[in-house]
């Protein structure tokens, strides 16, 4: 069972190379942008000397930490957005592509159950793609910190103090890991819905997946004048009960980080217990389980000839 799962997940990597190509591409783009910025900044020699001097002497650790955290959060968001798009396309193709090219007949000729196959796709969407994104985030951060350190050292600054001494690496990475993984679990009803559409639709999986998400709230509003579906489904992304205070405006205000170093901790803003005890999270998992069951049923019973 576990051996089969590993083989099946490995197969997903072979088939959907975007799982690792996307984080690699984003990491490269971020790194190139940072490089371009550094080259551009090098043109202002005098201002630069003053900035480094200022950063070394005047600013406190809090400011430096906050500046680096802002960079970290920014790049992590890029990965998170790409991850969301990638997951949608992955799920919609995962059980549709094999029917389109009829390779499903080959896969089903091997001693693997439909449940094992569908679950391997679910694990890929909820765990593997997010983990690949976190690895991408960490690698991008490290690469950019190294590049920036070298640049700062060359310009006469103390990279040890300015960059490495100020960077809350572990805090940031743990936070990224928790946010990415929790997002996968939180959005699992959508992931399972996309898998179901992928296994069920005869054509146009993207359209078939999103049409109900638009039509149902519209019809509900026209006929019932209520917004239950829209609130429960369309607003779900924003409603993740993971953040203590999701107030980015005050997060980056000077007052906020002068109040103490804890304010800068991203981890400090996450409330894992609140997330794990949230009825909405468990309700979502239940919906996910229902759609996954339906997906397995469709793959098993549908005649593909």
């Amino acid at each position: 069972m576990i051996g089969n799962q590993l083989a099946l997940i490995k197969r997903e990597f072979w088939e959907h190379r975007s799982i690792y190509v996307t984080p690699l591409a984003i990491g490269s783009i971020v790194t190139l942008s940072v490089l371009a910025m550094l080259v551009f900044a090098s043109g202002f020699a005098k201002e630069l000397d003053m900035a480094i001097f200022g950063a070394s002497n005047l600013a406190g650790e809090g400011e430096r930490k906050a500046a680096l955290t802002a960079f970290f959060v920014g790049t992590s968001w890029l990965f998170l957005v790409a991850l969301a798009i990638l997951t949608v396309f992955y799920c919609l193709d995962s059980l549709y592509g094999e029917r389109k090219d009829k390779s499903i007949l080959f896969w089903r000729s091997l001693p693997i159950t439909d449940a094992e196959t569908v679950i391997s796709k679910l694990i890929t969407a909820i765990v593997i793609i997010p983990v690949a994104a976190v690895i991408g985030i960490i690698a991008t951060h490290i690469a950019n910190l190294i590049i920036t350190s070298i640049w700062v050292s060359v310009k006469g600054g103390d990279a040890g103090l300015l960059i490495w001494g100020s960077v809350p690496l572990f805090d940031n990475w743990m936070a990224a890991f928790i946010v990415v993984l929790a997002s996968g679990i939180w959005m699992s009803p959508f992931i399972a819905w996309f898998l179901f559409v992928s296994a069920w639709t005869k054509r146009a999986p993207l359209l078939m997946a999103f049409m109900p998400l638009i039509l149902i709230p519209l019809l509900e509003w026209i006929f019932l004048r209520t917004r239950f579906f829209a609130t429960a489904v369309l607003d779900r992304g924003d409603a993740i009960p993971l953040f203590r205070t999701l107030d980015f405006e005050s997060f980056f205000e000077e007052e906020h980080w002068r109040n103490g170093l804890d304010g800068i901790s991203l981890l400090g803003h996450l409330d894992v217990v609140q997330f794990l005890t949230s009825p909405s999270m468990w309700g979502g998992l239940l919906v996910c389980a229902l759609f996954v069951t339906a997906t397995i049923y469709v793959r098993r019973y549908r005649d593909e000839s």
Binding site: G3, W14, K102, S103, F106, W107, S109, L110, T113, S305
Partner: protein, 285 residues
């Protein structure tokens, strides 16, 4: 003899259409059974039921298992090629071997690589880069490297040229088949496989028209080529089919003794194709 497939009153309906209609048969170990039928006769549906890919009514047991309920267990000992184009096009040959090796307990990678080394299939190639014939060779190499008790082939050589087709069947017979194994095969090109079959089954409109060992065909069926007076007399003996060839009448008899027909014309054992046409036309009357 052990029975590999045992079907009792098996039916499968799609709405009002009876794709397989109350069919009973048995396949014994060590046989090569040809399942012959026109398009839409129910062949593929029957194969799918045997492979556990679709459920059906009636009693069906394959290798002592319920194919639909115990599909995973069954597929450890049963292999099939459903159609030529089913290998995923994005996969590399080595990846394919890796995958089958890790999920199939009865797969021998060494054997598969041995078969592949006799072909032009490169191990670093992707399936989409291979010709149609090479894809079939690859698929067959994998299938033959699986130590299975039952091999099911559904139109395995569709769309291949004659060289690949001949090679396919000779590989199958020489490198794979033995008395432990059983092969169930469907094809339109009956004449190409009739020499390698041990048993034959005709199916039309979901019903079995003929289920017989190949060597019993000669005893049960005889074809008479005749003309003129003899033809009229022969018609009186109740042929099951008749057609014209080179200005002569060719009459097909079932269960008639050769002595009775001797002297009325030229006698011979009908080809499977002729017998098939006669049976299907007879059933449609």
């Amino acid at each position: 003899m052990t029975s590999v497939v045992n079907a009792r009153s098996v039916s499968k309906h799609f709405g009002a259409v009876r794709a397989v209609d109350d069919v009973s048969f048995e396949i014994e170990q060590g046989k090569i059974l040809g399942l012959i039928g026109p398009n839409g006769a129910g062949k593929t549906t029957l194969l799918k039921a045997v492979l556990g890919l679709t459920d059906c009514d009636g009693e069906l047991s394959v290798l002592g298992l319920d194919p639909f309920k115990q599909r995973k267990e069954l597929l450890k000992n049963i292999c099939f090629i459903a159609d030529v184009a089913v290998l995923p096009r994005w996969i590399k040959v080595t990846q394919l071997l890796d995958f089958v090796e890790s999920v199939h307990p009865n797969f021998s990678r060494k054997r598969a690589e041995g078969f592949l080394s006799q072909t032009k299939v490169r191990s670093d190639a992707k399936v989409r880069e291979l010709s149609k014939g090479m894809v079939v060779q690859l698929h067959l190499s994998i299938i033959m490297a699986i130590d299975a008790k039952l091999l099911v082939l559904d139109e395995p050589t569709l769309g291949l040229d004659i060289i690949f087709r001949k090679e396919f069947y000779s590989n199958l017979l020489n490198d794979y088949f033995d008395e432990e194994r059983t092969i169930l095969i469907t094809t339109h090109q009956v004449e190409e496989i009739e020499n390698l079959l041990t048993d034959i089954m005709f199916i039309n409109d979901g019903k079995i028209l003929l289920d017989s060992p190949m060597d019993a065909i000669a005893g049960s069926y005889v074809e008479l080529m005749t003309s003129g007076e003899d033809a009229i007399r022969a018609r009186g003996l109740g042929p099951i089919a008749e057609h014209e060839m080179f200005g002569k009448s060719v009459l097909l008899f079932e269960g008639a003794s050769r002595d009775q027909l001797d002297g009325l014309g030229e006698l011979r054992t009908p080809s499977v194709a002729d017998l098939f046409v006669a049976k299907v036309k007879g059933a449609r009357k």
